[in-house]
Symmetry: C2
Subunit: 209 residues, 2 copies
Amino acid sequence: MARAAAAIAKRPLPVTARGQRTRQKILDAAEQVFGELGYHQAGIAEITQRADVALGTFYLYFPDKHAVFADLVRALNYRLRKEIQIAIADVDDRVDQEVIGFETFFRFVERHRNLYLTMAQAQAVAPELYRWHYETLARGYARGLKDAQAKGQIAADLDPVTTAYALMGIAEALGMRWMLWDQRLPAGIARRSLRKLVEGALRPRQGRR
Amino acid sequence: MARAAAAIAKRPLPVTARGQRTRQKILDAAEQVFGELGYHQAGIAEITQRADVALGTFYLYFPDKHAVFADLVRALNYRLRKEIQIAIADVDDRVDQEVIGFETFFRFVERHRNLYLTMAQAQAVAPELYRWHYETLARGYARGLKDAQAKGQIAADLDPVTTAYALMGIAEALGMRWMLWDQRLPAGIARRSLRKLVEGALRPRQGRR
DNA sequence: CTGAGACCTGAATCAGTATTCAGGTTCCAC
DNA sequence: GTGGAACCTGAATACTGATTCAGGTCTCAG
């Protein structure tokens, strides 16, 4: 229970390579198990078994179940942002960036099916972290949109934050529909529709005002 | 565990008014508790306490914890669709329908803060139901979009299903951001941006093809 | 009135599982 | 080679909380 203040006695990070490897094995197993079963169904026993270490070893690296989960959310957030940043880096039209960002996200979801379940669980298990995840993403996103507005690439009268959340919502919904349910990117019509939606939404209207 | 086939021994619905009232009290309490604490933190004891009935009474109306939860998800889905249908009924431009649908959704979220947590939990607790929830919404949504295309109100080259999921994603993301986090609808700029996004995305492009 | 459904009660049971702990084992600097 | 960090082990503990059940209480048709 004791979810008290900052405290949450961290365990010291392993110093030797062996220890680091073990910690990582646990983290990887945890991603699997949490993603498959959800936070509460996931048992420490199951995690350590898949990580191929003894039960007690878990508590060498994490003070409790909640802690691995938190680490996981942070790691997922970090990797996701990183991958998108890299993918987008040397594209200069914002709409193109958008489309590439989406595809990168979809591919990320493909490699981390568990992302959705993990984040969904986070909403109940670690609300602050959950919110942090989206705010973090939104912050960067909104910044990018503002820059694009300055360059006249997208409509100037859109609120960047609102737009950022809207676009994240689209990514999430289609990521679920396509990558989790269908398990693959859809045929051309759907993909092209996505681009048209984004383009229509963002591009400055020709004639208008 | 026994999540076996259809079976799931339903308890007979109450026949007397008293029984119906009690069942409903439990259902209402359950919505609160699941929404506040999440599926696993929610205890039957807490639910029955808030419903002001004894622990055992719960099992008179629901075979187990899972069953109330499922009922809840179905009820939420039903009410949501109903409210939006009604709100939209006598609006004839699809973009207007869209905007009104969004606002209706936001107000629904305001009255059912717990909707998000409940659905998030559903992803782990009752995946079939979770998916059913979105597919149900999407089906109706896509139908509406197709009709609007037939009337030339929105671009003909958009895939209705893709568009439906994209719009649901936007609603969800902004509902979370505005109604759950800020706890109120935002000022004009943001609201107007939403309309512009939707309008830009859906309306047939003037010049093009 | 009255008795048979229909409802309601809450202490007791019981299974699952997070966490602890009392010892090993590895590894390498000296 | 060896002592002490740094790691690792897994049975035992402790507790939480869903579900059961033996026995009331209400209510209204006849």
